[in-house]
């Protein structure tokens, strides 16, 4: 069995997906240690069970520090004390520093064994564009109701969307309502409208393409 498959098997066992595996101990107590168990599974599979425990302890300490700092940064971002760009930059720096320290502790060869890639290839791990795109509505969400109502841009967006909606077929409009306002899944919509799931998915893709700003609506309404 190759190492990737062994890793999957170990992770499946930790999460109770491997029905043959026995989950030992108190479930609540185990939940506290999921991070530690995943770390152990990764180091055991890719570095071996005999690997220097002192070094592993140091790397795990770095992981804990990384988590704490990442959570802190994200909270600053959520409270608008960090702009999206600043969050991405800070996170990238944090990751670069953490991986650099891991490499110093483990050595280059073992770093590659553990993470599956040299440190240089993990630089800039964060997909900045996806994050900025995902968080564009975050800024809109942060506006008060009054600000949203009086914003020319927002009003213009709503007008454009309503105008675009009026050009859709009745079925398409119905699907949009169920999908974006009633939050039904494609399967549930197919059932409600007596359509094939594949047809719902096709219509959904077509409509989403037509109305690139639907996500904004969903977030504002939701």
């Amino acid at each position: 069995m190759d190492m990737e498959r062994e890793f999957d098997k170990r992770i499946a066992a930790i999460h109770g997906l491997d029905r043959t595996a026995h989950v030992a101990g108190n479930i609540e107590e185990s939940a506290m240690h999921t991070r530690h168990e995943e770390f152990q599974a990764m180091t055991s599979v890719f570095l071996g069970d005999d690997f220097d425990r002192g070094k592993l302890w140091l790397v795990e300490s770095l992981q804990r520090a990384l988590h704490e700092r990442q959570t802190e940064l994200y909270r600053l971002f959520e409270s608008h004390e960090l702009a999206p760009d600043e969050y991405v930059e800070s996170l990238n720096t944090l990751l670069a520093d953490t991986f650099a320290a891991c490499e110093v502790i483990l050595g280059t060869e073992n770093f590659v064994k553990l993470f599956g890639a040299p440190r240089s290839e993990l630089a800039g791990f964060v997909d900045r564009d996806t994050f900025l795109q995902a968080n564009q509505p975050h800024e809109i969400n942060s506006l008060t109701a009054e600000e949203t109502d009086t914003s020319d841009t927002a009003q213009s967006d709503v007008t454009n969307i309503l105008e675009a909606l009026s050009h859709l077929s009745e079925t398409e409009q119905h699907i949009i309502r169920l999908l974006y306002f009633e939050k039904l899944s494609s399967d549930e919509i197919a059932q409600a409208l007596d359509l094939k799931v594949s047809n719902v998915i096709k219509i959904r893709q077509r409509v989403t393409k037509k109305l690139g700003k639907l996500r904004d609506i969903e977030r504002r309404v939701g």
């Binding site: 990737e4 999957d8 995943e38 959570t71 599956g116 890639a117 993990l122 800039g124 893709q205």
Partner: protein, 134 residues
Amino acid sequence: MATGTLTGFGLRMQGLPADHTYVESSDGHVWPCWGRSAGGKSICVGTGNTTQADCLSQPNSHAGIQYLGTGVCHQTANRILHPAGVFVSGARGYRASVFIYGTYGKDLATGRFYSPLLFPWPELQRCLTSHVHP
């Protein structure tokens, strides 16, 4: 119960060290997981309840993940693939993302990693409850 095949895909992204991942089902679902949903290479496949996978993908195929806050596309794909019990571990950069966010994402309030059995994320609990059939 709609049992079908769930497939995880890895897509190399120019200028990025990690592959983007997305998921498809044999019933025609395509869950982009924050990014592109075509042109990838199949990296894992399993059999599972595709209706439940679709429920888990909500909303917007983000599966309850806050991008770069509680996970990235790897954790999103793993959540959608949960009914099949497979992971996108063949994606480049996967181990680094698991080191940062865990297999199924992390909870910002407690710092704990989510786990279907031990610490289910809210969407999983909701989907399991709404898809239990007599």
